[in-house]
């Protein structure tokens, strides 16, 4: 027994000491962010500039963030929620107002994305990066089957779906799928009329037998490999899928299709958590990220949309020219940001969603 105890102690000590943990810096900025949502060079440059350490933890879903904050988790400085999550956080009084005097670079942001309905005057949030929820497709297969790629009908209309049965996935998100269905039917993505929701649910149920899965996590992989030919997905992911397909020298490209009926625009924002340990570092970070070149690095890395006008000169030309990432004004007019729903509306939507998925 004694030998075991000694051995256990040795093992634990060895494991605890190696690899050497980074030296405990007195100045730490706790950034709660999506994975791969900031370029490593950007972080390093900020750390050098502020002489501090950026400690990143990750979430992969706005709702995970909301649940954790609602349950009382503390210790984060900067978080990067999407607009509807920002709305929920503001109403739940979980954010700290921003000291605009420390954010001179805020003027770089395109006016269209400032002063939103959920955060008038940008009291709590500043835009960071954007993406749209659109159609992604295997260009060879779509050409071969003669299917349109600029309309939601290819996801919802059985006459198109019959040609790609079992090769289509849609996002496993009630908000996103209902928004797409509402757009397909010609309504606003933020329409809350229960009758319209019933219509949307009916459209989804009609198309469901042709879909392979409701999937938000592994669909990009399957698209890149060629098992899935058509997806309802996020523009960043589809951009990345194309890079991967090219790297693997596949005989097709993965392209982004912006539906003419319009789509959901997701703007991710930087916010400060109420009670953040280092709001000063948080504001310094935000100002740093509002600077043109720093902001451009993420776009060049993952093909995300960018609300920062000062970043445009630094963005790679092919990304700058991509209409799905930087939409033309006509298309931009049809993009909508999702609004948060009331508790009663969420309940109704959940009932509809459960019926769609269970039957």
């Amino acid at each position: 027994m004694n030998r075991i105890a000694k051995l256990a102690a040795c093992v634990l000590a060895a494991v605890a000491l190696a690899p050497a943990a980074p030296a405990l810096a007195a100045d730490q900025l706790h950034l709660y962010n999506w994975n791969n949502y900031i370029a490593p060079e950007t972080i390093k440059r900020f750390e050098a500039q502020c002489k501090c350490e950026v400690v990143q933890t990750y979430y992969s879903d706005n709702e995970e963030l909301l649940a954790k904050i609602a349950a009382g988790a503390k210790g984060y400085d900067v978080m990067v929620p999407t607009s509807n999550a920002v709305e929920a956080l503001i109403r739940g009084k979980q954010l700290m107002p921003l000291d605009k005097s420390k954010l001179p670079n805020l003027k770089n942001i395109d006016k269209r994305y400032l002063d939103t309905s959920f955060d008038p005057g940008n009291t709590y949030s500043v835009p960071y990066a954007m993406s749209t929820t659109i159609i992604g497709y295997n260009d060879a297969k779509m050409k071969e089957l003669g299917l349109p790629t600029d309309t939601w009908a290819v996801i919802f209309d059985p006459k198109y779906l019959a040609k790609v049965k079992g090769r289509v996935t849609v996002l496993d998100s009630a908000n996103e799928l209902f928004a797409a269905a509402l757009k397909y039917l010609g309504y606003s993505a933020n329409d809350v009329d229960p009758k319209h929701w019933d219509e949307a649910a009916a459209a989804i149920k009609k198309a469901k037998p042709y879909w392979a899965a409701f999937n938000a996590s592994s669909y990009i992989k399957e698209l890149t490999v060629g098992n899935i030919w058509l997806v309802h997905g996020y523009s960043n992911d589809i951009f990345q899928a194309n890079l991967d397909a090219e790297a693997a020298k596949r005989p097709f490209h993965i392209l982004q299709g912006m539906p003419k009926e319009g789509a959901v625009l997701a703007v991710d924002n930087m916010v400060l958590q109420k009670g953040a340990p280092r709001p000063d570092l948080g504001l310094a970070f935000m100002n740093f990220m509002l600077e043109g070149q720093n902001s451009s690095e993420l776009t060049n890395l993952i093909g995300s949309g960018n609300p920062n006008t000062a970043a445009l000169p630094f963005i790679k030309p092919e990304i700058r020219a991509n209409p799905a990432i930087f939409p033309t004004p006509e298309v931009a007019a049809k993009l909508e940001q999702l609004k948060d729903l009331t508790a009663a509306q969420r309940r109704l939507r959940n009932r509809l969603w459960t019926e769609i998925k269970a039957r």
């Binding site: 030998r3 494991v15 994975n35 990750y58 984060y76 990345q240």
Partner: protein, 262 residues
């Protein structure tokens, strides 16, 4: 006759091992895959191992997972063995329910409720809060296995020891424990496995700077779970195997059950 029965079981067992290892072979092989995605074989490369050793975040996460796993399985094995022993010996009413419920309750509820609880107590979240949470749900697994092992055990040996003058602790330590050791080991292995792979509960109880391997990996789920994850998993498996082999060499009796010889 006997040979034939063993052969049929052995064939079935071989299929069982094949079933277990087919995905694992893919995991290990794909750690050398020259592609960002875990989807198709493209070419051979050692790049991902190089990336792994340069990736401090991933290494720290792996280290945290290992430390929490060892601690959680150690503590839950001790507490679980006590619970399993008590459940068998004294047939208590409350203990089985208390021990089984953490297994039955959905993880997300456990995670959220523990977070609320820790916040109420103003307990700083970090590695310790995660370990506490892991221990809570691992105890049940150990207890169930230990109790199953003790079922039908020959009590006469323990009683004989007591009659010879042994204290209850001595009777347990020198008679009962060696007899139930395979159950205890099985429970410890299960507890460790559960702990290093837990995501949901860890997500909610981890602090602002705490990362474990599942947290790190699941956050990659929507972008790409690169072969770096295969690499770290392969190494973690080998490391754990090594630790156990070393432990069993230093204490040969640990992994084998004692014969009940006079």
């Amino acid at each position: 006759m006997r040979k034939r029965r063993i052969t049929l079981a052995k064939v079935a067992a071989a299929f069982g091992y094949a079933f277990l290892y087919l995905p694992l072979v893919i995991v290990v092989v794909y750690s050398f895959n020259d592609s960002r995605l875990n989807a198709e074989w493209v070419g051979f490369t050692l790049n991902w191992y190089r990336t792994l050793f340069a990736d401090d975040d991933m290494l720290v996460a792996a280290r945290n997972s290992l430390v929490i796993g060892l601690c959680a399985s150690a503590v839950s094995t001790v507490l679980g063995t006590m619970a399993g022993f008590a459940m068998h010996r004294w047939k208590t009413r409350v203990l089985p329910i208390l021990v089984l419920t953490p297994i039955a309750i959905p993880e997300i509820l456990v995670g959220v409720s523990l977070l609320i609880f820790f916040v109420l107590l103003n307990f700083t979240l970090g590695l310790v809060s995660v370990a506490i949470a892991h221990i809570a749900f691992c105890i049940g697994f150990v207890a169930i296995v230990v109790r199953a092992r003790m079922a039908g055990m020959d009590e006469s040996l323990t009683e004989a020891a007591r009659d010879c003058g042994a204290t209850p602790w001595q009777a347990f330590r020198y008679v009962t424990l060696p007899l139930i050791m395979p159950g205890v080991i099985a429970g410890a292995l299960m507890a460790f496995t559960l702990s290093i792979d837990d995501f949901v509960i860890t997500f909610f109880t981890a602090g602002a700077g705490t990362v474990t391997l599942p947290l790190q990996i699941y956050s990659m789920i929507k972008i790409a779970v690169t072969p770096e994850v295969n690499a770290v998993s392969t190494l973690l498996m080998l490391l754990t195997l090594l630790l156990i082999v070393i432990a069993s060499r230093l204490s040969p009796s640990l992994l084998r059950s004692q014969e009940s010889t006079p």
